[in-house]
């Protein structure tokens, strides 16, 4: 099991040595049982660190913001940023390295292994605690989680409350790290694409009615976009910001402006947005499931991402986020790529 003291010691060491600018890790706000992202800037801060099954955030998102911040620094601080990364988060770092978003030396990875369990799904847990307030969740023995509630302590089998993404996880041990904590035994998953295959077995019209109903719910809050470490475009197709609006711009001109899609949360526009989001993540999504977790209306976004992950694997033998030296999925090709769909 990952010993939190080891993590603190290592964090303290690098902070003391001034080797890193700051460390992004998991901490806890006073009034909640869930872990929060925390930024450690001095060696004394390391006591804020926690490690439990509620550390579900993908902190790599903050590295994207860090790059923007760094661009404005004068003079820029060349030191790396430390980050506590789970297996899935480390894959996100690999994809960003692959895309040359930042350099390997810009980031100091404190890898933590999820071992044989993973992170909990809040919604699943709520179904187990029968309305009682949860105070703490901790890793227990034998793949169990110890849940402390107002009305006593429960032991729940991990498989019952694990997030879906953790049940399908193929990288429980961080792929890259400068310092790795926890057991390094890799876990095997029988079939990470079960849900997708089930969906594929439906008829086209059934699939459409499923997605139509799901995407109709979307309120276009863009939480999925904000939570995703891969969504780092300066300008997203959905918000057209490079159109200069001056005092002379007439209302008609604004309305006539060519745009890919409307901002209104209407079925057809939502479908368009989610198709674009999914295709932009093809071969990049590392299935951290943050989009789905962040979604306030429970759209099964992972099902879309997972489909393209499956196709990338089946058609092109490509697994995102394992090898930073490999070219990205759609920036390379092979002579023998499938061609049966072309006339």
């Amino acid at each position: 099991m990952v010993n939190i003291d080891d993590l603190k010691t290592e964090a303290k060491r690098v902070l003391k040595g001034g080797n890193v600018k700051y460390i992004i890790g998991y901490g806890r706000a006073s009034d909640t049982w869930k872990a929060n992202p925390v930024f450690l800037r001095s060696p004394e801060d390391v006591d804020k660190l926690v490690w439990d099954p509620t550390c579900f955030h993908n902190l790599v998102r903050f590295l994207v913001d860090e790059k923007r911040r760094k661009a404005k620094e004068k003079p820029p601080d060349p030191r790396p940023v430390g980050i506590v990364a789970k297996g899935c988060d480390s894959r996100a770092i690999v994809v960003l390295l692959q895309e040359k978003f930042f350099e390997r030396m810009d980031v100091f990875v404190l890898g933590v292994s999820c071992e044989s369990t993973g992170m909990i799904d809040e919604r699943k847990l709520a179904g187990k605690t029968a309305g009682k307030d949860v105070r703490r969740v901790a890793f227990g023995e034998d793949q169990k989680f110890v849940v402390e509630t107002d009305a006593g302590t429960l032991e729940i089998a991990a498989s019952e409350v694990l997030a879906d993404r953790c049940l399908d996880c193929i990288a429980n041990v961080p792929v890259i790290s400068d310092h790795l904590l926890g057991d390094k035994t890799k876990r095997t998953v029988a079939n990470p694409f079960r849900a997708v295959e089930k969906m594929e077995s439906l008829s086209g019209d059934d699939r459409w009615s499923f997605w139509k109903d799901q995407l109709k719910k979307c309120i276009r809050c863009y939480a999925c976009r904000s939570a995703c470490p891969m969504c780092y475009c300066e300008e997203c197709v959905v918000d057209t910001i490079n159109f200069a609006v001056t005092a002379e711009t007439s209302a008609e001109e604004k309305a006539q402006r060519i745009k890919w899609l409307e901002k209104s949360p209407v079925g057809s526009e939502n479908v368009f947005y989610h198709l674009v989001r999914a295709i932009h993540l093809a071969g990049r999504c590392i299935d951290c499931g943050e989009c789905e977790r962040a979604c306030p209306v429970n759209i099964p976004l992972r099902m879309l991402n997972k489909k393209l992950e499956k196709e990338a694997k089946e058609l092109f033998g490509y697994d995102a986020g394992f090898d930073a030296d490999q070219p990205a999925l759609i920036s390379c090709f092979r002579d023998g790529d499938p061609e049966d769909f072309i006339r």
């Binding site: 019209d205 899609l261 071969g283 489909k307 759609i330 061609e339």
Partner: protein, 140 residues
């Protein structure tokens, strides 16, 4: 008598091969259905998935992307990139429930006017029984 449904097809044709191929079909006075709106692009590799989604979004009943045969790309490897990208687009569209016939990719060289007419004819014949595309179309 009810009027027969005439599908609207948006065809993204690469400038160097398919567009010239369609031109050849035209100047050779070959007959083919007038359902196609051709859009010339510099290379099939430059066709963003966004173009395809957008065409459906704005009411196309079918979308065709056509480029040079593998190995013949004017830019050496644009069509190889297109092949990868578009196969993913096709899979995704099928997955959300769009009929697979509605999105087609073809290789048509500048000399294949005949093939171009055949591709269009087949496409129109496949689209007719499907009726209008309403799934991805912008709601009024």
């Amino acid at each position: 008598m009810t009027e027969e449904f005439e599908p609207t097809i948006i065809a993204f044709l690469c400038k160097w091969c398919s567009s010239a191929g369609s031109d050849l079909a035209g100047v050779s006075r070959m007959e083919y259905p007038p359902n196609v709106t051709p859009i010339q692009v510099m290379c099939s590799g430059s066709v963003s998935p966004l173009y395809v989604f957008s065409a459906f979004h704005r009411g196309a009943d079918g979308v065709l992307v056509s480029g040079c045969h593998p190995g013949d790309c004017h830019y050496i490897k644009g069509n190889y990139y297109a092949r990868r990208k578009l196969s993913l687009v096709k899979k995704l569209l099928e997955y959300v429930g769009l009929e697979p016939e509605r999105f087609q990719v073809s290789w048509v060289s500048a000399a294949e006017g005949q093939k171009y007419t055949r591709v269009i004819k087949d496409f129109v014949n496949e689209l007719k029984p499907l009726g209008p595309q309403t799934k991805l179309r912008r709601s009024p």
